[in-house]
């Protein structure tokens, strides 16, 4: 029981980070039908930019949580610029090209960003200073740290904000309209290019947030961290139903929980043959199962259009 609760807490924390990243994939997919495989790298750059800011401000004497907040904001802004540039330079010229072209470009952008990060920050693992309080509470035998609580809270607030933005504002309405039919939205005066740029920027800001949170959670950041995280978040988006915001959130949290519980019990289940380092297997096992049995994902049902 202790293991179950503990892994549930760990899984929810990890899952809420997956969800933030998955939202970036799903928003872009929803509006362009493009899988932005460079998104994981945006997350990584967010984490490393934040780390650089933290180091820069380390001697400033500012309160630690304030440094964290400044690092987060700078990282989010840097990633918004990055996301905007990626769309402008790599995807927009291919807007009307066959679907395979932007997909391959996305992989190219991902490699470029990773190499660029390696040149700037090197190949080594960087320790991320713990700027947030790390005391833990015991709840029903499970340890939950303040950092985990902060991650859960920040993720929940951000996602609530995103839902409100998409469902209750003029911009959100234009985003949904453009996702459904950019040409018709254009007739209403919506500049699709502007909406697409905004979508990339919002998704990238969420990615930066996720990058900062995940590096704070593990205390580590490196140039290659976006790859696996991006792949898993993509899995989460597919699990929830790609293109669907609620689906990305649900898929992210579910995937985090499945992974954590899998890692917690895999030793017992296999009589000690497989250990918890096999936890990545679960994410991709889930991906395969979803693709085989429910390719549209858990929430990926479309409203039928009547003629």
């Amino acid at each position: 029981m202790d293991i179950f609760l503990q892994q549930l807490v760990n899984g929810l924390t990890l899952g809420s980070i997956y969800a933030l990243v998955a939202l970036g994939y799903t928003m872009v997919y929803g509006i362009l039908g493009l899988i932005n495989f460079a998104h994981g790298e945006v997350v990584m750059i967010g984490a490393l930019v934040a780390l650089a800011v933290m180091k820069l401000l380390a001697a400033s004497g500012l309160p630690l949580p304030l440094i964290f907040l400044i690092a987060l904001i700078v990282a989010a802004m840097a990633c918004m610029v990055l996301g905007f540039s990626i769309e402008r330079i790599a995807y927009r010229p291919l807007r009307n090209a066959p679907r395979l072209a932007p997909l391959i470009t996305a992989i190219g952008v991902s490699i470029v960003l990773q190499q660029l990060a390696m040149m700037i920050w090197g190949r080594s693992y960087h320790a991320v200073p713990s700027l947030l309080p790390a005391e833990s509470y015991e709840v029903l035998g499970a340890q939950i740290t303040q950092l985990q609580l902060i991650i859960l809270l920040v993720a929940a607030l951000t996602m609530t904000g995103l839902i409100l933005l998409v469902n209750r504002t003029r911009l959100g309405r234009a985003m949904r309209a453009t996702a459904e039919n950019p040409a018709i939205a254009g007739l209403m005066g919506v500049d699709a290019n502007r909406i697409i740029a905004m979508t990339f920027m919002i998704g990238s800001a969420l990615g930066a947030l996720a990058g900062v949170l995940v590096s704070a959670n593990y205390g580590i950041a490196h140039y290659n961290m976006g790859f696996m995280l991006g792949l898993k978040a993509f899995t989460a988006a597919v699990l929830g139903g790609i293109g669907n915001l609620g689906g990305a959130m649900l898929g992210g949290v579910l995937l985090g929980v499945i992974e954590a519980l899998g890692a917690g019990y895999i030793g017992d289940l296999t009589g000690g043959v497989l250990g918890s380092h096999y936890q990545d297997v679960f994410a991709f096992f889930v991906l395969i199962v979803v693709l085989v049995f429910r390719p549209s994902g858990l929430m990926g049902e479309k409203v039928s259009e009547r003629a």
Partner: protein, 237 residues
């Protein structure tokens, strides 16, 4: 004599090597209700899409005192040019109210928008009943009403209507055309594209007949209704 609100000169639309619209010229004057009739594939929809800048074309398009053939599609509604596309084109996943709000996307006069929303609900009471419903669940006739209502939310001076009767039961078509007539009565200039020639010529004052990318006849609706070629080809007589 009223002045031209819309004028196309040598308008041509190509899809690859195929010329769908072969250099046509026509005029719509302020306050007029004009129709463009013709068979399926004659190039009517392509003409409207070119006017709304949804597809590239060559030739000149004059609207009011400016040339709009290089203006992007999304900049037209603020000039008062709205298109109700073929097949309605409502946002199926948005609610009725949200669809109407999209029609006023380019406007920022909140109180006036609210007043216009009420006006549209007054004109199309069915929409008010279904305000919170997702547009994809509406019937075809309701979707057509919504598409028209949404265009009205932009306060158009010129309304381009593409096949508003398409796929609708005759009784519903009658209702849709009553609404169109009342919009015209309010002073909105209308260019109507229809396959149903009788319907179109009954409500319009003038008409153009399109055949495989060319305008072959241009006359008053009364003369076109009496024309033996029109009667034979489009009125089934």
């Amino acid at each position: 004599m009223a002045q031209a609100l819309l004028e196309a000169l040598n308008l041509e639309v190509r899809y690859g090597g195929i010329r769908a619209v072969k250099g046509i010229s026509f005029v719509v004057e302020t306050g007029e209700m004009v129709c463009l009739i013709g068979a399926n594939g004659a190039g009517k929809t392509s003409t409207l899409k070119a006017l709304a800048r949804m597809i590239p074309s060559s030739g000149e398009i004059h609207y009011g005192s400016e040339r709009i053939d290089a203006v992007p599609s999304h900049a037209l509604i603020s000039k008062g040019l709205a298109l109700v596309p073929e097949g309605r084109g409502v946002f199926a996943r948005l609610s009725v109210a949200e669809n109407l709000a999209m029609g006023a996307y380019h406007r920022s006069d909140g109180a006036e928008i609210a007043a216009d929303t009420e006006r549209v609900y007054g004109l199309l009471p069915r929409l008010k009943e279904r305000m919170t419903q997702v547009a994809g669940t509406l019937s075809g006739g309701e979707q057509q009403m919504l598409a028209i209502g949404r265009a009205l939310m932009g306060r158009p001076k010129l309304l381009l209507l593409d096949e508003p009767s398409m796929g609708l039961a005759p009784i519903v078509v009658q209702k849709v055309f009553e609404v169109i007539r009342s919009i015209a009565a309010e002073g909105v200039t209308i260019l109507l594209v229809e396959q149903n020639a009788r319907l179109a010529l009954d409500v319009c004052s003038r008409g153009y007949v399109m055949e495989s990318g060319c305008i072959t006849l241009a006359d008053t609706a009364a003369n076109l209704l009496a024309d033996s070629r029109v009667r034979a080809a489009y009125l089934g007589e």
